[in-house]
Amino acid sequence: MNISTILDMAAEAFGERVGVVCGETRLSYAELRATAYAAAERIKASGAAYVVLLDVSSPAASVAVFAAAYAGVPYVPINYRLTADEINALVERASPAYLITSGELRDKLAPRDDLTVVDRADFLAARAGEDAVPTEVGDDPRAVAVQLFTSGTTGKPKAAILRHENLMSYIVGTVEFAAADEDDAILVTVPPYHIAGISSVLSSTYACRRVVQMPNFDAAGWLRLCRDENVTNAFLVPTMLARIVEHLAATGETPELPRLRALAYGGGKMPLSVIQQAVRLFPNVDFTNAYGLTETSSTIAVLGPDDHRAALQSDDPYVQKRLASVGRATGAVEIQIRDEDDGVLGPDQAGYVFVRGPQVSGEYKQQGSQLDADGWFPTRDRGWLDRDGYLFLEGRADDVIVRGGENISPGEIEDVLLSHPAVADVACVAMPDEQWGEAVAAAVVLKDGAQASADELQALVKGQLRSSRVPQSIVFKDALPYNETGKLLRRLVRQEFATPD
C-alpha cells in the first residue's frame, strides 16, 4: 500500500486533466506524475531519509508528497513561519533530508552536511520521460508516509506519524475515485504543513478535482481567485471565513460567484454568528463543517449541507443547536465519549472524545502509539454526542475551567458574549482564584467604534447561564493571539490573568 497509487490512478484515468494551478503554473496529472517520478530518483540518489518542505503552498508541495512516497521516505512539511532556531531544531529531527525551499526561506537554514537543499524551481523543472517508471516503489502499509510536527501550543512540537495505511484508508474510505466533474476546482488556502493541506492534495487528486492554490490569504484576493478560476469548492479555517464575511459587510459587496457550490470549514471553532452570516451571504452554497486532527489523518466527523439546512429550518431547539456541532462520524471511524475513569458515556453527557478506525494513527515518533488496547485514540478534546450522534465540542481538555470542582467549557460563555452586538471576538480562560481554585476570565475585542462595559457583559452572561459562568475579570484587547492557521493561543490569553489581583 502506497499513497503514490493515488497519483498513478489519476494520471492513468485523466492524465490530461489539470491537477494543480498556482498563479501562472498549471500541471496536468500526467505532468505531476512525471515530475514526481524525476524527483523521486533524485531523492533516492541523495541518500536522504526524509523529504522536507520549507516553503509556502505551490505545486512543489503536491509533487513532494508523491515524490517522497515513490522514493519510500517520509514527507515532512515544516512551518515556514517559525523562527530560524525553531526551523533548524525541526530539520535536525528530520535528517538526513532532501529539502525543498525558496527565496528568503533558504537563509533561515543553518548549514548541515546531511542536507541536500533544492530550490523549488529546480525541484519542479525536471520531468521523467514517457516510459520512465520509478524502480521498486514500496508497498509496505506500515511504512511512514508523512511526519507532521504538531503546532506545539503547549511545549516542544511532537512528530505525529501517518503511515501509508492510515492515509489510504482515509482516502479510499471517504472519497469516491474520479468523483469530480471536469470543470470542478477547489481553492486551497491552508498551508502545506497543516494536515488539511496534505489531505486536500490526496483527496482532490483521488477525486480528480483541480486544486487552485492560494499561498497568501486575503479576503478580496480569495473572492477574486474564486471568480477567475471558476472555483466550485473551497476549504477555509474559521478566521478566513470571518474575514471574508467582514470584508463583504464592510464593502457592501455581493459575492458574485455563480460557480461556487460548496464551502467546507474546519480547523477550529467557528463562531455561530460568522456561519449564520455566511449562509445568508452565500445562499446557493452548500456548507460542510469538518472536524479532524493531525493524528487522525484529517476528517473524522462531518456536518454536511443537509444537516446545515435541517438545523436552520427546524423549530426544535435540539435540532437548531446542531449548527454549532461538528456533525456525525464519517462512517470510516467510530466516536465515543468517556468520563475521567474511561467509562463510556451516553447521549448528551459531556466527557472526553475518543476515536477509532484504520485512518487513526494516534502515534508520535518519540512517544509511540497513544491508542488503548482496543484501538481508541484520546483526542484530548472535550465534548458530547447528542441522541442522533451529532458531536459537540467544548474545547481542549486542557482549556476547561474547573471552578470549585465544576467543569466549565469556555465555548458556551464565548458564544453568549459573541451574541452582544459590540463584541467582535472573545476568549474565556481560567484564572487563579483563592476561593474557587479557578475562575472564569474573559479577553474581549470590541468592534470598531462599538462600546460595551464589563458590567454589561457580565449581566448578559448571568442572564443566560448560571452565575458560576460569569467572568470574574474582563479585559478589553485590540486583538486576540492566533497562530497562522487560526488556532487561538489560549496559553497567551491565560498569561494576562496569571496573577490574582
Binding site: 508497498d139 501509508h164 484508508s169 475515485f177 486536500s200 483527496s203 478535482r209 469538518a290 476528517t299 454536511g304
Partner: protein
C-alpha cells in the same frame, strides 16, 4: 498465482488484461485471486505461455472501484481498469457501494 496469503497493500495484475488491483483488506489463510477465470499475477511474475481469458466472461474491472466478497472480509481497489471479472477462490466479487461524503478537504 497458486494459493497465496493476501496481505493489505499487496498488488496483483491480471494475466490476460490490463486490470490491476491493490489489496485493502484480506481474510486470513491462503486464497486464489483470479481475473477472467485466470489466476492473477503478483509483483514481477509474468503470465504463463498460452493462458487465455474465459471466453464466457464479458465482465470489466473498473478503475477506482472497490471489489468485495460476500462477507466483505476481502476488499480490493482496482488501480488500473481492464477486461475480466475478479473472483476469490472461484466466486465472483461484487462492487462495494460507495458512501458519498460531502467534500471536506
Amino acid at each position: 498465482m497458486a494459493m497465496t496469503a493476501l496481505k493489505p497493500g499487496a498488488r496483483f495484475k491480471s494475466a490476460v488484461s490490463d486490470a490491476q488491483v491493490m489489496v485493502i483488506k484480506a481474510p486470513a489463510g491462503e486464497h486464489e485471486l483470479s481475473c477472467a477465470g485466470v489466476a492473477m499475477l503478483a509483483g514481477a511474475d509474468t503470465a504463463p505461455d498460452g493462458v487465455q481469458a474465459d471466453a464466457a466472461d464479458s465482465g470489466e474491472t473498473l478503475i477506482g472501484k472497490r471489489y468485495v466478497n460476500e462477507d466483505e472480509s476481502l476488499e480490493l481497489l482496482c488501480t488500473k481498469g481492464g477486461a475480466g471479472t475478479l473472483a476469490l477462490d472461484g466466486t465472483p466479487l461484487e462492487i462495494k457501494q460507495a458512501k458519498q461524503l460531502p467534500s471536506s478537504d
